[in-house]
Amino acid sequence: MATGDNDDVGFKDRHESLMNCPSSQINTNPVSDKVNGMAMSSISMYNKPSNASDSFFGSGWDPIVSLSQSESLVGSSMVSHSEFANSHYPLLMENQGISSTSHFSQYQSDPSFVELVPKLPGFGSGNLSEMVGPFSLPQCGQIANSKCPQNYALNTEVGNERTCTNSTQSRDEHQLSDEGVVGASPNGKRRKRVPESNSPLRSYQNADEEPQKDPSGESSDVPKEQDEKKQKTEQITGVNSRGKQVAKQAKDSSQTGEAPKENYIHVRARRGQATNSHSLAERVRREKISERMRLLQELVPGCNKITGKAVMLDEIINYVQSLQQQVEFLSMKLATVNPELNIDLERVLSKDILHSRGGSAGILGFGPGLNSSHPFPPGIFPGTISGVPSTNPQFPPLPQTVLDNELQSLLQMGFDSNSAMDSLGPNAGRLKSEL
């Protein structure tokens, strides 16, 4: 732990930078040096006002490439975080109560922060905050995830001080995390979870042990961060449940210390969860399913606010049914309205279809659960009604009237394929007899 001690000393001197980069203590493991360098350099980019940090964080940026493989580093980094927080946090909190918030807000607005995001490989869009989160905020979850058993003792101690810094970092991540896990690379699984645990930690622990810093003061800066961080955090789901576990239990780091590995996908057991292969496979499956549900949510219009798989499935079913009914209705309309279609017309028509836009208005106008006939008649009626007086040379007047009447009656009956077919027959017959 010699390196860790050195870091501690260095941090003491530069407590300002420490506030913004509590991850500087990440030297408990030799492997974590890379991560430390990454975190430090990343944070140094944010902390422009803190000059002291620059010299300290000269570890270089190259290790960032290895971040995707260094899952263990995150855990180990957490250890050092806890140590650091133990020794320095209370002191720093008192002194830097206000500066930290300003620092946080500063680095949020720092353009380099934003630029940094795409550089991180293996993270997708939600990378940087995930990376920064675990590094900058000692957290129970992170500590639990780490492989260092020595973290165990620190968890409880750190809990108190942790919440302050957690709140700033976690708050924005938490609020940004409306997407949920998008089944990103399993390597990032641990990291994704770590920042998420901040928010529940904050909510649970802030109420319990209010540190010297006022979280509400910090949270005022958080909205600024949120806007900029929105692009980064995307994969934060189900944290609250796990966060609860994390918050309540400061133990079973050994439970999650081992990472049972599957054959194909490297999945890490989360804190407080069973680690046998069956439940892991179950979890992977469930996450795949929730990812697909999210994609479907984007496809189906008007389903952004719906949460819950059951309701979402209902909406999907309704939408598919309505689409199928629309196809049927349109094909019926084509059957009745369609004139001769020679090759030239076909070419013109295809070009028109492919080049023009706005054809999906009817589809988009379809609200979930709405009867499909509702959006349709307004769109169709103008066509059919205008068809009556129009002098379409291709149509002899008699069939046209018949067709229009049929269509109108069809529309009036509401769109139901069965009823439409029924109405078409008798109505047509009735109309013919009348005519």
Binding site: I289, D314, L323, M332, T384
Partner: protein
């Protein structure tokens, strides 16, 4: 906004060309001026089949639902061709497939798919062609693709209709 030259091999263009071709053929068979309601119904059925067929064959990537739809259409056309031998083969094949899929379905439900929406899942399976043989994960995938294709289909058909009924 709209691309000047849309992707010539996109799903939309493939479907459009196929469907228009099928429409031309159908219209050539049944001149509209002499349509009785019965003939209109017949045409409707044919057009509907043509729409589904064009869609199923326009899907380039081999999707389960497109495969199932193609199979359905082919078996239906075989049935209509009233070839007894072919009919026997298709029904026996179908039975084998259905048994297998039922077995798979049992397996899937027992292996803890148990996320709690069995009824809706079954409904979705009925809606999506070929959905009986898929587990929930793939079913959702297929549903997404199916929705995308259905919306394309509706768009194209509506444009055709608008073109002919100004």
């Amino acid at each position: 906004m709209s691309p000047h030259h849309p992707n010539p091999s996109s799903l939309k263009s493939r479907f459009t060309t196929r469907f228009l071709r099928a429409l031309t053929k159908i219209n050539a068979q049944n001149p509209i001026s002499s349509s009785s309601p019965r003939e209109i119904l017949q045409r409707f059925r044919r057009i509907k089949v043509a729409a589904d067929k064009s869609m199923a064959y326009s899907v380039r990537s081999r999707r389960t639902w497109s495969r199932a739809m193609r199979w359905k259409l082919r078996s239906r056309s075989w049935r209509q061709a009233s070839s007894v031998r072919r009919l026997k083969i298709t029904t026996s094949c179908h039975q084998a497939i259905m048994k297998k899929t039922a077995h798979e379905r049992e397996n899937k439900t027992t292996t803890g798919e148990g996320v709690g929406f069995g009824v809706q899942t079954d409904e979705l399976r009925e809606l999506v062609p070929g959905g009986e043989a898929m587990d929930l994960c793939n079913l959702l995938d297929e549903t997404a693709h199916y929705i995308k294709c259905l919306t394309t289909q509706v768009q194209v058909m509506r444009k055709i209709v608008d073109f002919y009924s100004p």
